[in-house]
C-alpha cells in the first residue's frame, strides 16, 4: 500500500466514525424518511391505506442489520453505535467483495 492510499484509508475510517451525523442531523432538523422510502405505517398515515401490491412485497426480505441497526427499536445511543459498526462492517464487506471480483478478473502479471 502506498502512503497516499494509507492516507485515503485513514480518511475512510474517519468518515465511518462520523456516520452518526447522518442520523443526528435529520433528528435535530425534524426530517423524516427519504421521499418514496416510507414504511407501511407512514404510508397508512399519508394515504389512509396501504397499496395492496406494496403490502405483499414489503416484507419480502428480512435484512440481518435492517436500517443499519443492531437489535430492534434501539435507543439513541445504541443507534449511534450501530451506525458506526454498520459503517465499518459495510466498508469491510464491500472491500472484500471488490477484492474477490478483482481477483477473478485481473490476470496475474
Amino acid at each position: 500500500m502506498t502512503a497516499f492510499q494509507k492516507k485515503l484509508w485513514v480518511g475512510l475510517i474517519i468518515m465511518a466514525l462520523l456516520t452518526p451525523l447522518g442520523i443526528i442531523l435529520p433528528q435535530k432538523f425534524n426530517a423524516g424518511d427519504a421521499w418514496g422510502e416510507w414504511g407501511t405505517d407512514t404510508l397508512e398515515k399519508l394515504l389512509g391505506y396501504v397499496p395492496e401490491g406494496l403490502k405483499k412485497l414489503t416484507d419480502l426480505w428480512k435484512a440481518p442489520l435492517a436500517d443499519y441497526s443492531l437489535g430492534e427499536n434501539p435507543d439513541f445511543a445504541r443507534q449511534v453505535i450501530s451506525y458506526i459498526i454498520s459503517g465499518i462492517l459495510g466498508i469491510a464487506i464491500v472491500g472484500l467483495v471488490i477484492y474477490v471480483i478483482s481477483r477473478l478478473l485481473v490476470k496475474k502479471s
Binding site: 427519504a34 435484512a63 466498508i91
Partner: protein, 228 residues
C-alpha cells in the same frame, strides 16, 4: 433514492433487472480487459467511500432526507464502467445486509445510481472540462458532474415511482404500488436534489477531484494525458 420492495410493479423491476445484467456483463468484460492490479485498491476504496457517503443523511428541515452517492467522482477517477461495478456492489450489499433498498428493486436502484449517475456525471465532466488544463474549469466541471449526475439519477427514480399508478391499480382505483403520480414524484425529487442534495454531491465531487489532482494526478482516469 433507494427504492424499497413493494414500490415497483413486476412490470417495472423485471425489465430493469434485465437491463442491469446487460450493463454488468459489459462492465465486467471491460474491467477484465482494462483493470490492472494497481487499480484494485482504488476500486475497493471507491466502493467503501460510496457506501459511507450514503450513510450521511442530509435533512431538509421539517421534511425528508437525502444523501450523496459518490457515483460521479468514482466515474471521473476510475472511469464510468468501473463506477458501475463499484456502486452496484455497494447497492447490493445495502439491500441484502442492511435492508436499504428492496431486493426486487436491486435492478432499478443499480440502474439509477450505478449506471445513470456515473455516465451522466462522466459525460457532463467531459463536455464541460473539454481538453482544458485550466484548474478552475476542471473543478467547475467536477461540481456540475456531481450536481447534474445525482439530479438526473433522482429524476429517473421519480419517473419509475411516478409511472406505477399508470401501470397497476386495484379494482377500486387505488394504486397497487408507489402511490404518487408523475406530476408529484418528478417535481418533488427533482427539486430536493436541485436545491440541496445535488449541491452537496457537487461540492464533494469537486473537492475530491482537487485532492487527487494535487496528490496523485496519474490516478485520475478522466484527465489522464493532460499536463497535470
Amino acid at each position: 433514492m433507494h427504492i424499497p420492495d413493494g414500490y415497483l410493479s413486476p412490470q417495472t423491476y423485471v425489465p430493469l433487472y434485465g437491463a442491469l445484467f446487460v450493463f454488468w456483463a459489459i462492465a465486467l468484460k471491460k474491467l477484465k480487459r482494462e483493470l490492472s492490479a494497481k487499480q484494485v485498491p482504488y476500486l475497493a476504496m471507491a466502493a467503501a467511500f460510496s457506501f459511507l457517503i450514503q450513510m450521511f443523511n442530509i435533512p431538509i428541515p421539517g421534511g425528508t432526507t437525502g444523501h450523496a452517492v459518490g457515483g460521479g467522482i468514482i466515474a471521473i477517477l476510475l472511469g464510468p464502467w468501473t463506477a458501475v461495478i463499484a456502486v452496484s456492489v455497494v447497492l447490493i450489499i445495502q439491500a441484502v445486509v442492511f435492508g436499504d433498498g428492496g431486493i426486487t428493486a436491486i435492478g432499478a436502484n443499480c440502474f439509477n445510481m450505478a449506471v445513470v449517475m456515473p455516465f451522466v456525471s462522466y459525460w457532463t465532466f467531459k463536455l464541460i472540462s473539454g481538453r482544458s488544463e485550466n484548474k478552475k474549469r476542471i473543478y467547475a466541471a467536477a461540481f456540475l458532474a456531481g450536481y447534474i449526475g445525482l439530479t438526473v439519477s433522482a429524476i429517473v427514480t421519480a419517473i419509475e415511482f411516478g409511472i406505477q399508478p399508470l401501470i397497476a391499480v386495484s379494482p377500486d382505483g387505488r394504486p397497487l404500488y408507489a402511490p404518487y403520480p408523475l406530476s408529484v414524484a418528478v417535481p418533488v425529487m427533482a427539486l430536493e436534489h436541485l436545491l440541496l442534495f445535488g449541491i452537496i454531491e457537487g461540492v464533494v465531487t469537486a473537492m475530491l477531484l482537487k485532492y487527487f489532482i494535487k496528490h496523485e494526478p496519474e490516478v485520475v482516469f478522466a484527465v489522464r494525458g493532460r499536463e497535470r
